[in-house]
């Protein structure tokens, strides 16, 4: 049932002692007979204390909250130092794995640049099919072996004695013909290059770095499926 503001006005006038004798008499009569009105009077009397308590309740709640937040007592995600340390280690490991993965994907690490250095498998392949075949002095060599044979599905690693003084060209051309099929400018100090499978068609080729007089032959045969 709706509360009539007029009833509240009446109660306020009663509380301020502003009712006439007749109004006062009616007020008490109604208080005895009308339960809703009795409840309204009781509620009106309780409201100042209720409002005060409600205000205190909120203030205390804020006090407790700020005390706990200030003293770091609350909202600890982990509840003891061992858990915290474990979480830190796990996070660190995850971060390391992610960084390594991303770096690997983008070939940020120099040892991972496949263009310049052979992987372990490539090295095995070189040992099998290539290896130093020419030693003009104790530390000058070239690979693969002169006349080495590769399949078109092989990655071919070319190695040579690095030249530190200037840039130079790595060139592959058709055997006995001056038709260049692949060439790349090398950086000073570069001593290898990887030719991915399928870069050049099967056939007889020669390669050289810097000086065409040091050219070596190799053969790529078609892959048998």
């Amino acid at each position: 049932m709706e509360t009539d503001p007029k009833d509240i006005e009446l109660i306020e006038r009663f509380l301020d002692n502003k009712l006439s004798e007749q109004e006062s008499s009616d007020f008490f009569k109604r208080l005895n007979e009308d339960r809703e009105f009795t409840k309204l009077v009781a509620l009106r009397n309780a409201l100042p204390d209720l409002l005060m308590d409600a205000d205190n309740y909120q203030k205390i709640r804020e006090e407790v909250k700020s005390t706990l937040n200030l003293q770091g007592g609350k909202r600890a995600f982990f509840h003891n130092p061992a858990q915290m340390a474990l979480a830190a280690v796990v996070l660190l490991l995850i971060a390391t794995v992610v960084i390594l993965f991303v770096a690997n994907e983008h070939e940020i690490f120099p040892f991972n640049k496949t263009e310049n250095l052979a992987s372990q498998n490539d090295t095995l392949m070189i040992q099998k099919k290539g290896g130093p075949d020419f030693k003009a002095s104790k530390d000058i060599y070239y690979s693969p072996l002169n006349g080495a044979v590769f399949s078109s599905s092989d990655k071919i690693i070319f190695r040579w004695k690095p030249a530190h003084d200037s840039t130079f060209q790595f060139v592959i051309f058709q055997k006995d013909q001056p038709v260049i099929v692949y060439q790349k400018k090398m950086n000073p100090g570069q001593d290898s290059i990887m030719l991915p499978p399928g870069t050049i068609k099967p056939g007889d080729y020669q390669w050289s770095v810097g000086d065409k007089n040091t050219k070596r032959t190799f053969f790529i045969k078609p892959t048998v499926r």
């Binding site: 509620l43 009106r44 209720l50 509840h79």
Partner: protein, 218 residues
């Protein structure tokens, strides 16, 4: 004031807080809102509250929020004298927290609030705190003019007057002078504003018990 003893056999387990606060110190600390006591009580009781909240099936309670609310209610009860020291501070706080959870649990399950555990009866005043929250929220939603006239009438801003028993209410003629309207208009405005508050709380759970308990409006 407190000693952290570490059990060497299980030294990687959590340190055990051994309290050096007496019951009296705890009660006084709560009464005065002592940060050290509040923080101590929180740390001392949070493991038990976490364990308790985890036992409710199909309900996820934030133990930290439950304990924070429990401590708020505990302070209210200490300050109002409802806490009479029949049980220890920790037991009382635990019971309040259990009531908070039980009430929320009962609201979403078929369990009746009549299934209240007898030992909790002492602190079964959840309705009262819900009512305070409702009163606060309702007042918060009132417009500024309403809040102003209610505060003036009940002398909430006038600490000196609110403590003297003989002048608890401000006369509407005085209010009218302060806010620049006529006395009758001030009474009408106050009545309209109070009606909004009364309508919001008059059917709230526990209001009848509260009004008949005699603890308000005397």
């Amino acid at each position: 004031m407190k000693i952290i003893l570490t059990n060497f056999v299980t030294k990687f387990k959590k340190p055990v807080l051994i309290e050096k606060f007496s019951e009296e110190e705890l009660v006084k600390g709560l009464e005065h809102g002592d940060g050290k006591i509040i923080s101590f009580l929180y740390k001392r009781n949070i493991p038990a509250i976490r364990k308790m909240t985890s036992h409710y099936p199909n309900m996820i309670f934030e133990a930290e929020d439950v304990l924070q609310e429990g401590m708020t209610r505990m302070i209210m009860n200490v300050r109002s004298g409802k806490f009479q020291g029949r049980s220890s501070v920790h037991s009382y706080l635990y019971s309040i927290c259990r009531n908070i959870c039980f009430k929320q649990y009962a609201a979403v399950t078929t369990i009746s609030m009549n299934d209240w555990v007898p030992e909790l009866a002492e602190v079964n005043d959840s309705n009262y705190f819900d009512l305070l929250q409702l009163v606060f929220e309702t007042k918060d939603r009132l417009d500024e003019k309403c809040v102003e006239i209610i505060d003036l009438r009940f002398r909430f801003k006038d600490k000196q007057a609110s403590t003297s028993a003989d002048s608890k209410l401000m006369d509407f003629e005085q209010i009218a002078l302060l806010i620049g309207i006529k006395g009758d208009n001030a009474r009408q405005r106050f009545s309209r504003c109070l009606e909004k508050l009364i309508s919001a709380v008059k059917n709230a759970p526990g209001i009848d018990d509260l009004l008949t308990s005699g603890s308000y409006g005397n």
